[in-house]
Symmetry: C2
Subunit: 341 residues, 2 copies
């Protein structure tokens, strides 16, 4: 049996092509009876829309934009590469992807930038930015203007009406806690926690998740207060030195932030921290190499390529007024060891 077309469907439903079109595309002026007959016929003859023909007839170009931080280290680079990759691949699918790099830690500037995005230019926007009331409002206004929003890997408190792509950071922190807890065994000890800044919501969430596991499952371990490097190499060395002097039984270190180069370098250079178990977040050239050479013991990661593709699929679905397939868009919390890199 050949694949039924809309014409076959019209015939089977006993209506005209025009009515089939009205039903399929939710246009007005269709009686309940006609709609029902069409839907029944769809079931009966197994009609499935030919998406290629739809795309061609609509002849619409989808325009999506990623708003990413302007400053960052290797993880940001990784992300940018994945976006560029997706952009290339999707060109043949009538999808154009652009990237704006903004000082996302300046809520004022970011809000202005978001406000300047025009409905005519863009069908969907994926934003990665730290939380702030101003930004939240700007995002809300963006959606009000009919632009589909994806909160992308970021520490925003989730807007109920927006889609979210990324992992549950509480669970990611808990996973790190489980790894460190099990790796350390039964001897008591302390765990050093390092972040770029604890203002970021993702770091806060991870810390909460981490503590919940350590406190419940591994009470013989103690997680020290979070250290903040502010992305500064010498500051990192200084605060770590300070902690080492005050605690002589540090057995592990957990780096909360996506960029781990600075804290891990400081740790591996410290004579007293050669044997500690180190867990970091996100796979980057640095963290990969560190895992390979044994400077760190595990990486908790979310695949940026998956995240980018997922964000695009979601924006695409929203632009077509479809619902994304939730199951497929879940980003996994990956545990990387030396052997499964």
């Amino acid at each position: 049996m050949i694949r039924p077309t809309a014409k076959d469907l019209a015939e089977a439903a006993g209506v005209s092509l025009a009515t089939v079109d009205r039903v399929l595309n939710d246009r007005p002026n269709v009686s309940a009876r006609a709609s029902r007959r069409v839907h029944e016929a769809i079931e009966k003859i197994g009609f499935v829309r030919n998406l290629a023909a739809v795309a061609l007839a609509r002849n619409k170009i989808y325009r999506f934009r990623f708003v990413l931080p302007s400053k960052g280290d290797q993880y940001l680079q990784e992300l940018l590469q994945r976006v560029a990759e997706a952009s290339r691949t999707l060109k043949s699918d009538l999808t154009e992807i652009t990237v704006d790099q903004i000082a996302t830690d300046d809520p004022y500037q970011l809000s202005r930038h978001l406000a300047a995005i025009e409905t005519e230019d863009v069908d969907g926007v994926a934003v990665m930015a730290p939380e702030s009331p101003q930004v939240r409002d700007a995002l809300g206004r963006l959606m009000t203007r009919g632009i589909h929003l994806v909160q992308f890997l970021s520490g925003q408190e989730k807007l109920k009406t927006a889609d979210f792509v990324g992992v549950d950071n509480f669970a990611a922190g808990a996973t790190a806690g489980r790894i460190i807890g099990r790796f350390l065994g039964n001897e008591p000890g302390k765990i050093m926690i390092v972040a770029e800044t604890m203002v970021a919501r993702d770091s806060i969430e991870r810390r909460r998740g981490f503590d919940s596991i350590i406190n419940e499952q591994f009470p013989h371990l103690r997680a020290l207060p979070s250290l903040e490097t502010y992305g500064d190499q010498s500051r990192a060395a200084a605060i770590i030195q300070n902690v080492v002097e005050r605690h002589h039984d540090i057995r592990a270190a957990y780096v909360l932030s996506p960029e781990s180069r600075i804290p891990v370098s400081a740790i591996s250079q410290h004579a007293d921290l050669q044997k500690v178990t180190v867990v970091v977040h996100e796979r980057t050239p640095f963290s990969e190499e560190a895992l390979r050479t044994g400077r760190i013991d595990a990486i908790i990661a979310q695949d940026p390529g998956h995240a980018v593709r997922s964000a695009v699929r979601i924006m695409r679905a929203r632009a077509d007024l479809r619902d994304p397939i939730a199951a497929q868009e879940k980003i996994r919390i990956e545990v990387l060891l030396k052997e499964n890199l």
Copy 2:
């Protein structure tokens, strides 16, 4: 600037639409000069083929087939579900997916089945079956007849000319070894290894990977000889009982096979094995629940949904005489703990 079409391309290259068509689709009777001019024009004006239009004009239905085992437990069910899911999703992409369930452990029957697959019926076949010379030959003949082959999650020695979807089982075993080694700490002990059968190549590979890590990195641990359950509950209980009687310092168990229900049940019912660390392969309703309740400690998994979609993308690319995007098709070795389920 509007998106350039083939017509624009012809104009820019100074040739006719017919020649553009000949170049784009690798048809004969094109001079090197014409071809060069077209390719230069593609770069110059940034021409990108509209895949929707291509698909529509070709009006080709892609037919792919999965050849899977007829007997199995939850992991097989999981796979079947993912295939069915992909089948539904891809119908609107002119892709029809069918499943054949064969007694894949009977090389003769499987070979006959593969031989009966007609080029007219199918564009690509994904086969999951244990290794045997007969089957390898049948697969070779399949490819000779122009049917694109994907070796799917299976223990075949990889055919050089076929695509492969699945994880490196040596690495998967090594990952299990690292997990168990680190979880056990520094005290000496023994590790029980259980498989359905050690005939399967994937189990052999995993065992090799596992041993390589244990021997190198954790010499105070000893992996016992592999036990084979043959999928039999009472046999499993008996052989495990036997091992426990002979070894009083079993501290971990590693289940090599994708179906872990029978061995894990036997282990958790055994009074002397309540505290052992258990690592299994593949996420199933059973293994998920076992991880949640603490009967097992980690799952090494490959996402069957990813695997199915990857296999389809590869077959699709091959059918279009394109090369698959290798980077995107790599299946990850996932480490699942209670916290990142």
